[in-house]
């Protein structure tokens, strides 16, 4: 009544197990198979993970052997022969289901072989582990296998039973059927999820490699990269150049470009929150505002300004923007995003302020400081007025009652600034030399003479065909100066790339999506790839600039990575577009 578990395998032990090559082990494989083969000179290949009987618990081994022999009695007819086909017997298949899924840990390596017994043993153990791992065959429950057939004419694999979990990231539907690309099918075969049939016979992994991989589908190199990434969990799809928008279409794609701009804005903001002299509170509001809020802010600032302008001293409106630093400064804060302000803020004031009224260019009559003037404005010269318009004397007393006549109290600093301004705004008519000029030509000559004198440099340098790159008297920002005197202009990777013709050798092969996106990955809308792969081998040349340019323009803003295969080894390299930084503040 007692049946021991037949876990020890299906070989019988009927003699001495020595280390001679002709051991007495009998291999009770499936003898009725017609394509098995016979190898008389070597020990039989043991099924994975199992030890030789003479090493294992002897009693149990013998017992189980008896069981198996009984069960597979009809197989014993040819027991004199030994078969090493890598095909498992039913009992082995059954036992294989409960085998471990752990990888043996590899110990520390030694530095130099010293012929010691210890080293020899360790090597033997490592090798034994190695071979047991390598010789393991894939065994799956029929219920867990998806059945598929290979269609050689179309180089695809058609699923016969419903797809498994892999369908979320792999395969495609057409004509109401589910298909897998050959590389996907092969990978799934290797993972033990799919069994592919051809002419009603199951294909081995070897068949898969030899039939599925070809230059018209995916080469072995490409498959190696594909499988490497798949094993790491990445979602890998074939790259289809036609599905990529051309660079022109990419330019026209408004939502995309909009997104890109917003992203850039955000990045810039977080990278350098306050480059100018701004109060921290303002900086904070700037930081949390998005581009849309920015627009609102702009409007509100404009309102502020228009509110403030009426009650400011109307002496010179151009000055309000300068002395009343509040609105002007916030205006500066706004322009911080759009363009750099290098010159006077008052110059930019009209541009960033209300677009209709250029207050700095309209001279209002000075009413506030008109204590010494008569209480009325003289009428304008009638010759300047159009046609029949008559303008009389204007009484300003009602206006004066309406405006704020308080004296402007200026700090010492402000006074000094005022003085400077006064000095700068030099009335040209006080210049005696200018007054001596009788016409424009003389004035221009005078200007040129003064210019040359101010420069203090030889005029002749500018008279010739070749002139200096820069006039030192002209004040320009350092960055611009560097650009004017640079001998070779810096170039962009994508410059002129659209004209580069596609080469056959260098092509993007795969779109790669990150593993963490797998949960909500959609094949119909995979989104932005994490990167793109181009496959080459170490014996190939390094991709030239032409190839890099061509792939970069094809890929757009997604990085192209070269997967370089060196036999089993795969290394990943990328070429990055890099711009030398100009470390100058404008």
């Amino acid at each position: 009544m007692f049946f021991p578990l037949p876990v020890e395998g299906s070989y019988t032990w009927s003699g001495v197990l020595g280390d001679t090559k002709m051991s007495a082990l009998r291999w009770t494989c499936n003898l009725s198979r017609m394509w098995t083969e016979w190898t008389p000179w070597d020990r039989p290949q043991l099924p994975r993970g199992r030890k030789w009987i003479d090493k294992g618990p002897r009693g149990a081994g013998l017992m189980s052997c008896v069981t198996v022999t009984n069960m597979a009695e009809h197989n014993m007819t040819q027991s004199g022969e030994k078969f090493y086909n890598e095909i498992l017997s039913p009992s082995e298949l059954f036992a294989a289901q409960s085998r471990s899924h752990k990888l043996p840990v590899r110990g520390q390596k030694d530095f130099y072989p010293n012929d010691s017994e210890e080293q020899r043993q360790r090597l033997e153990q490592s090798l034994e582990e190695h071979w047991s791992l390598i010789s393991e065959e894939r065994v799956e429950r029929l219920g867990n296998l998806v059945k598929a057939t290979w269609i050689p004419s179309e180089k695809i694999v058609e699923l016969q039973t419903p797809a498994g979990k892999f369908w979320q990231t792999m395969g495609f539907s057409a004509r109401g059927k589910q298909y897998l690309h050959p590389e996907e099918a092969l990978h799934l075969m290797e993972c033990g999820s799919v069994q592919v049939f051809y002419q009603d016979l199951p294909l081995s992994i070897q068949d898969g490699y030899e039939r599925f991989l070809s230059s018209s589908t995916v080469s072995l190199l490409q498959y190696q990269v594909f499988a490497h990434l798949k094993r790491l969990g990445y979602v890998v799809h074939r790259f289809d150049p036609s599905s990529e928008p051309s660079s022109y279409a990419r330019q026209l794609n408004l939502p995309q470009s909009c997104n890109k701009e917003r992203r850039q804005l955000k990045r810039k903001r977080s990278a350098s929150p306050t480059p100018s002299t701004k109060s921290t509170s303002q900086a904070e509001t700037q930081k949390e505002s998005t581009a849309d809020i920015m627009e609102e802010e702009k409007c509100s600032h404009e309102e502020d300004e228009s509110k403030k302008l009426p009650d400011s001293d109307l002496k010179t409106c151009s000055e309000t923007s300068d002395t009343q630093t509040g609105p002007a400064d916030s205006g500066g804060g706004r322009t911080w995003w759009m363009a750099d302000i290098s010159g006077d803020q008052s110059e930019h004031q009209p541009a960033s302020g209300s677009p209709r009224w250029h207050f700095s260019s309209i001279s209002f009559p000075d009413l506030g400081s008109s204590e010494r003037h008569p209480s009325c404005l003289f009428p304008p010269d009638p010759s300047l007025l159009p046609g029949s318009l008559a303008v009389g004397v204007c009484d300003i007393t009602p206006w004066r009652s309406r405006i704020n006549l308080r004296q402007v109290k200026m700090s010492a600093k402000e006074q000094k600034r005022e003085m400077d301004r006064g000095r700068r705004r030099w009335d040209i008519n006080r210049d005696k030399e200018v007054r001596r000029c009788r016409n424009w030509a003389e004035y221009h000559k005078l200007q040129a003479r003064r210019e040359g004198r101010r420069k203090g440099q030889p005029e002749h340098l500018w008279n010739r065909e070749v002139t200096p790159l820069h006039d030192p008297s002209q004040p320009i920002p350092t960055a611009e100066l560097l650009e004017t005197i640079s001998v070779s202009k810096s170039s962009n990777l994508l410059e002129g790339a659209s004209r580069v013709k596609a080469s056959d050798q260098w092509r993007i092969r795969f779109n790669v999506y990150q593993p963490d996106t797998v949960a909500d990955f959609k094949k119909t809308n995979p989104g932005r790839p994490y990167c793109r792969m181009c496959v080459c081998s170490f014996s190939d040349p390094v991709p030239d600039l032409r190839a890099i340019k061509q792939m970069a323009v094809q890929s757009g803003d997604i990085q192209v990575i070269c997967a370089v295969v060196d036999y089993g080894d795969i290394s990943f390299y990328a070429f990055k577009d890099f711009q030398l930084p100009t470390d100058v503040y404008p």
Binding site: P6, S32, H101, Y112, P113, S135, Q195, A227, Y567, D569
Partner: protein, 290 residues
């Protein structure tokens, strides 16, 4: 260069079957893999490991051979190039094979269901044995066990979905028998026309192998071969072999870069130039001058 750890000539003359996939030479059978390894050729594994397929630290069959390894095997007459898969193309043979396969499947199902039944039974028996030793006179429990055992015998059905199926790694086929290999071996032709550099590589490979070193490809290290003093499973590589022509000038910068790289990975760079019946070795080591 110092004396080799040990010398071993490939003595085994088992013919190894090499199949070609996309110009790569692949070995599929464990027998072949073992035989090649016993000759000190390492190769590189490409496939997913059946036990844990979704990782890259340990890979499984197939094993890809370096061109030098393949050449060495073929020069020792221990390699045969196997023809591509076509065993399924036959007409009447195909029908026979399909029938055979069905028969196989059916028999496997029968046997597995017997084993599964035995497994269940023995589990019940074990439970019985433990209850016996546990608390003496629980006869009703004992009876229940006997009943369940009987019920198992009568109504046990092994679901087809639980049938264990093998997804074979290597192709099953007659092409692997020794006679056909011997035949294929006779028809061996060197597929690749050797360039000068690959000829130099082969010379270096053969010489280092003859001295007992194990070699793998060293693309990542900017050289031709990584040279191991023993089996790479147990030992670190000591050298990066760079094959150079004996009489061609070498750019100093190249030497510097390769030496610098070698010092960074704690390996010695070995400049190998075949010529004059042997191979000349020059080792480079980066040393700081104080």
């Amino acid at each position: 260069m110092e004396g080799a750890p040990r010398t071993e000539e490939p003595t085994s003359c088992r013919v190894v079957g090499i199949s070609h996939c996309d110009s790569a030479s692949l070995l599929w059978r464990v027998e072949d893999l073992r035989s090649v390894r016993s000759q000190g050729l390492v190769g590189s594994l490409l496939g997913s490991l059946p036990r844990t397929p979704r990782q890259n630290s340990r890979l499984g069959r197939p094993l890809q051979l370096l061109p030098e390894e393949e050449l060495l095997l073929s020069k020792c007459h221990t390699a045969a190039s196997l023809p591509p898969a076509n065993q399924h193309e036959g007409g009447s043979g195909l029908v026979q094979q399909v029938a055979l396969q069905g028969e196989e499947r059916r028999r496997s199902y029968e046997e597995q269901s017997i084993i599964a039944l035995e497994g269940r039974k023995s589990a019940v028996l074990r439970a019985m044995a433990s209850s016996n030793t546990g608390s003496g006179s629980e006869t009703c429990q004992h009876k229940a066990h006997w009943d369940s055992l009987k019920a198992l015998d009568q109504s046990f059905t092994f679901p087809l979905s639980a049938l264990a199926v093998q997804l074979s790694t290597a192709r099953v086929g007659l092409a692997h028998c020794p006679e056909s290999r011997a035949f294929l071996q006779a028809h061996w032709s060197i597929r690749v026309q050797l360039s000068q550099h690959s000829e130099a590589r082969y010379e270096v490979f053969r010489d280092l192998r003859r001295r007992g070193f194990y070699l793998t490809s060293a693309g990542k290290f900017g050289g031709d071969f990584l040279v191991y003093p023993g089996d790479p499973l147990r030992f670190h590589a000591h050298f990066i072999a760079v094959c150079l022509s004996k009489d061609k000038p070498v750019c100093l910068l190249d030497i510097l870069s390769v030496a610098r790289l070698g010092s960074n990975v704690k390996k010695t760079v070995l400049l190998c130039s075949p010529g004059g019946g042997g191979v000349l070795y020059t080792s480079l080591q980066w040393s700081g001058m104080v």
